[in-house]
Amino acid sequence: MTHVLDPDAPAAGIAPRRQPPAPYGDVTRSDAAFRAFLHGLPGVDQVGAEARAAVLASRSIKTTAKAWAIDTAISMIDLTTLEGADTPGRVRSLAAKARRPDPTDPTCPPVAAVCVYGDLAGVAKEALAGTGIAVAAVATAFPSGRASRAVKLADVRDAVANGADEIDMVIDRGAFLAGRYLDVFDEVVAVKEACSRPDGAAPAHLKVILETGELVTLDNVRRASWLAMLAGGDFIKTSTGKISPAATLPVCLVMMEAVRDFRAATGRQVGVKPAGGIRTTKDAIRHLVLVNEVAGPDWLTPDWFRIGASSLLNDLLLQRQKLHTGHYSGPDHVSVD
């Protein structure tokens, strides 16, 4: 009969866990150690965070700055369709819009990516061939994440095999809220491994969706952000867009602080993607202001900041036309998708 004297001792017969980057190599040695680390991160005072976000939202962005911000926001969009009724035709139509958002104005930049369900990744890949626009696919039993790990990993491999350049995974919020942080960590690590390609080409970029609306507190948002970064996520993303509230400024503030602090500690930069609920140019610009003042200009490119949206693009295009022509046009002056 054996007694486990050291609760930190790894159980026999299990492959060693993938280690987080230095200086956090040992924080995942046990559930207890990982919980202690995540709960030892500086707290977030909700009132203070909301006040800071409100001040940033009151920045007045005019003329030249606005023109820059609109074009930058367009170039950061993950143009998204995530409906049960999605068809290859709709995806092709969205891809066409992604390449040339404003057909009347060739100076309008293309968006960063088109985001679809995994089974349509191949259609999107083909429609976007040669454009440099990435194909992002949601996977891991999106949006609920309620499936066995084998199913989730199969979902990821399928999307990668279909040509997805980026995988948007959801974390297991149930495990996170139950305090099983190592389970969540291990799953992100496994998904990250499933993003690699058999032919040795660059693995798909992994975006980890925290679904902050279900994590509720800003303390949880910070902990989940760190968890996802330690597990190797390339991006942290607020929401699936299927849960309300989705992306909010205070949540984005805490996530920008997390990627900023993580880079300072490990040297590794992680991107941020607010998604869901950003519908107007004003909202988008507020997020850019926040990125600029909280994490800094290093994040102000599509490589490090994305906006997940479907209806935002048209508002950006209308505002862009307004800046160029001096007057508002109307919804018929931009394509429906």
């Binding site: 203070g48 009151s58 700055a65 200009p297």
Partner: protein, 490 residues
């Protein structure tokens, strides 16, 4: 007339915010201003002086200087109004006038905000979002009290004192006016108010609001001038109550002048507030609170958190975060809606800030300032942090009244409390920790009139404000603030 200093761009960012200046065309600046006495704008007998825009040194207007005789006229008008109209008036009617003033302040908020930023140098973001809304809130709050004084817990049937002589500073010209005038009027007193020499314009615009509200003549009188005019108000024999906000030095001389008379006195003087950051604090929000505590209104705040007490084990982390955050502050044209830090109010104040900063360096503290361009004209001082400060340094003891933070460290809660209380002042303090029990334990032992927990520089008319020790006596705001203007209510 439309000189505006440029807003220096943030050099490293591709995101250059274009200037977003608030239009100054909403204010109609008269070339000269008289006194407001007995409901009329009248000439003064003293030598007029000029008020300038501290951001550009442009002369804004010529201001009348009230002599002793002018002050006497104003006090007589106030006495007349007290005995004939305002004193006998039904309290509910007095309340109606105050509500009317409050609504007019809201209606003309933009005008007040622009004028305040022009005359004071503070960013429009603060005058628009803080000063003017709070000033209106004070009138609304006290309007509600006007007919409920019997239930304020100050004893039965409290009576007004009579004529209040009030002298206010230049850091929050309109807000300090509201803090003084609203409770005085709500309790049935009449007022002779002297705004600061460098910032009289919003008080004179307030006089216009009093006329617009049909306030009976003599209830509010505004006399402009420098120290001599203030002295005449304080020393006038027919003033029943003196209220002063300003420097401890002037406060002392007022206390001497009032001693031995029947006048009641409240003083709200300087401060050297401790902002205590424990190692378990929410660091990002604490850094915001430190910035808000010392750089709000260019540090021209009597309750500014000018002494940062940070627990030794998180010192480096907090200072690094603070410096990064300060690097994002935008200094420049106060009328630009994106400006965070405006101009120093006057050349004299700038000289004092420079002098005390140089002393700090000479004493061995380490001075840090962000790379930050200052406009060529006007009075400017960059946000400044002194580290390696000891409680024996003058920079940790003297009130700088500018954007200068002194950082000290502590190891235990006891040491934090001892260092925080080791000051001749006691106006405010801040405590940053995630531990609720520690907030209660520490705030209980701090000798300060206001203690903020996980916040700083938050104001509300319902919350009494005032100091310990050389920060003065008496309270403004809340039920406690009413006591200073009522007889039989001690």
């Amino acid at each position: 007339m439309t000189d505006t200093p440029p807003s220096p761009a943030q050099p490293t960012s591709p995101f250059q915010y274009a200037p977003a200046p608030e239009s100054r065309s909403i204010v109609d600046l008269a070339p000269s201003h008289g006194l407001f006495v007995d409901g009329e704008f009248v000439d003064a007998t003293g030598t007029p002086f000029k008020t300038v825009n501290p951001a550009t040194e442009e002369v804004l207007s010529e201001i009348a200087c009230a002599s002793d005789a002018d002050v006497d006229r104003a006090v007589k008008a106030a006495r007349r109004a007290f005995t004939r109209t305002w004193g006998p008036m039904r309290p509910a009617d007095r309340g109606k006038y105050l509500f009317r003033i409050a609504r007019l302040l809201q209606e003309r908020a933009r005008e007040f905000a622009v004028l305040e930023s022009l005359d004071n140098g503070k960013p429009i973001r603060e005058s628009r979002d803080v000063d003017v809304p709070l000033a209106a809130a004070h009138f609304f709050y006290h309007a509600g009290w006007a007919d409920k004084l019997d239930w304020a817990g100050l004893g039965p049937g409290p009576r007004p004192l009579g004529v209040a002589g009030q002298v206010i500073p230049w850091n929050f010209p309109l807000l300090m006016l509201a803090w003084k005038v609203a409770p005085a009027l709500a309790t049935g007193n009449t007022v002779v108010l002297k705004p600061a020499e460098t910032t009289p314009l919003t008080a004179l615009l307030f006089a216009e609001v009093c006329r617009q509200a049909d306030l009976p003549p003599g209830v509010v009188n505004i006399v402009t001038g420098a120290g001599d005019t203030g002295r005449a108000v304080v020393e006038h024999a027919d003033v029943d109550k003196v209220a002063f906000t300003g420097s401890t030095e002037v406060g002392r001389s007022i206390a001497r002048a009032v001693a031995g008379t029947a006048k009641r006195l409240t003083l709200e003087l300087g401060g050297k507030a401790a902002n205590i950051v424990f190692d378990d604090a929410p660091i990002d929000q604490a850094v915001e609170g430190i910035v808000q505590g010392i750089f709000f209104n260019q540090g021209h705040v009597c309750c500014a958190g000018s002494r940062l007490l940070v627990q030794e084990n998180v010192h480096d982390e907090v200072i690094a975060s603070l410096q990064r955050r300060i690097g994002t502050l935008r200094l420049g044209d106060p009328l630009d809606k994106n400006t965070d830090i405006g101009a120093i109010n006057s050349a004299e104040q700038l000289a004092r800030i420079r002098e005390l900063s140089d002393i700090g360096e000479a004493e061995g503290a380490h001075r840090w300032q962000p790379a930050c361009e200052l406009p060529d004209r006007g009075f400017w001082f960059p946000p400044t942090v002194f580290t390696e400060v000891s409680p024996a340094h003058r920079i940790a003891r003297d009130e700088v009244f500018g954007p200068v933070l002194s950082v000290l460290t502590f190891r235990t809660p006891d040491e934090a409390v001892a260092k925080a209380n080791n000051s001749t002042y006691g106006l405010s303090a801040g405590v940053w920790t995630e531990k609720g029990s520690r907030i209660l334990a520490v705030t209980d032992r701090l000798r300060a009139g206001v203690v903020w927990a996980n916040a700083f520089n938050q104001f509300d008319p319902t919350s009494p404000f005032g100091g310990y020790k050389q920060s003065g006596y008496g309270r403004e705001g809340g039920r406690q603030g009413l006591a200073a203007y009522l007889e039989g209510a001690q």
